[in-house]
Subunit: 224 residues, 2 copies
């Protein structure tokens, strides 16, 4: 394959990955709306969306595999292909988390709606900003933007910790709210996982751009 | 690099991955013991273990990357390298799940120990069998063994569903047990995630051995 055609196919791969990221973000938006409105049709839409994400994942893996197989990519392209393989898997797992949330919304459909000491919408919006920012860092090959995702992740983790505490407190004080509180706890954990996947993506972008592996930097520092 | 040396390095990579899998299995065993005994020292051991898993993950990624960069691997080797990159990431995430469980055990240390309608040990043992079987399928390049992991996963999912139901029921009946029941619910979800990662590994082995992508087979069948 001529070099120019190879780069054209790399760009096609990037475009497919962007479409995949758009599907993952749409899933988060949609499931947040499903939760707010208790809307089962939106839950079904999240499930349909996940099928599209799943088949997209296979296609992207195949494209990355073909490019690895047909060419001997140069260092920077090779790192890009490795990053794509990992980002692809994280995007699919964001879809899975959204399906988990949709499942919770579906199971909760017959429960009375009560006021809960948690702002799920705010948490979901932040998680979605993390995905968008991580993907932007990929598009612009900008490790600094990617680093900002890592900071947002601390914020989501803290929101999840606080929600867990407040909702457990409510459960013990008012057992009749246990099921609703538990659903909210699980949904918060799922959103926190979405944030983790966005963080993984940002780390993969940093790896690609800088050629350095920054994962687990803390733990390595601690070991020395 | 001569072909024979390339294969020697592929074998070294496989050995490193096996050591990584052993660490992941040890983490599950250890955290189950920590839960049973409420032992904080064992929790600390799980955290230490995770640092070893994290640095192992980086080393394996680097070895896979070097082999991709230096050689133009043949189709079967290329599929193996892609499988290793993914399995490596799943093993690291099993370590993360164990840390989450250890965190729950740590937070629960001051709660009264009560009888709960769940057999966490049984669920954890099954999850560990799934990891071991998935790795065995890799060692023996045996897709049939890998398929048996997929069946075990249905079983773990069902155990998690039942635990969730029973523990929620307990919470509502006896609010004073809410914190313990909630901890158990979250631990079961973590173990169910361990099972999912083992399933991912089995699917990657099947991809490697058969050259076919069997992920999301159901969803594709449903789409047609």
């Amino acid at each position: 394959m001529p070099r120019i055609q190879f780069h054209q196919r790399l760009n096609e791969l990037k475009d497919r990955l962007l479409a995949q990221a758009a599907l993952a973000q749409a899933a988060v938006d949609c499931v947040l709306d499903a939760y707010s409105a208790g809307d089962l049709k939106l839950c079904q839409h999240v499930m349909d969306n996940e099928q599209a994400i799943n088949s997209g994942e296979q296609m992207i893996d195949q494209m990355a595999y073909d490019l690895l197989a047909m060419e001997q990519p140069m260092a920077v392209d090779l790192r890009f292909l490795m990053a794509v393989i990992k980002i692809n898997s994280d995007l699919e797992r964001i879809g899975d988390q959204c399906v988990n949330i949709a499942e919770r919304v579906r199971l909760a459909r017959n429960l009375p709606r009560i006021e809960l000491p948690v702002n799920i919408e705010e948490m979901g919006t932040l998680a979605n900003t993390m995905i968008r920012t991580a993907i932007q860092s990929l598009l612009e090959a900008d490790a600094k933007i990617a680093e900002s995702v890592l900071q947002m992740d601390d914020h989501v983790d803290e929101m999840n910790r606080r929600a867990h505490e407040d909702l457990t407190g409510l459960m013990m004080k008012d057992p009749s709210s246990a099921e609703q509180a538990l659903n909210a706890i699980i949904i918060c954990r799922n959103l926190e996982r979405v944030g983790d996947h966005a963080t993984n993506i940002a780390e993969d972008v940093i790896f690609w751009v800088r050629g350095a592996d920054i994962r687990h930097q803390m733990s390595i520092a601690q070991m020395n």
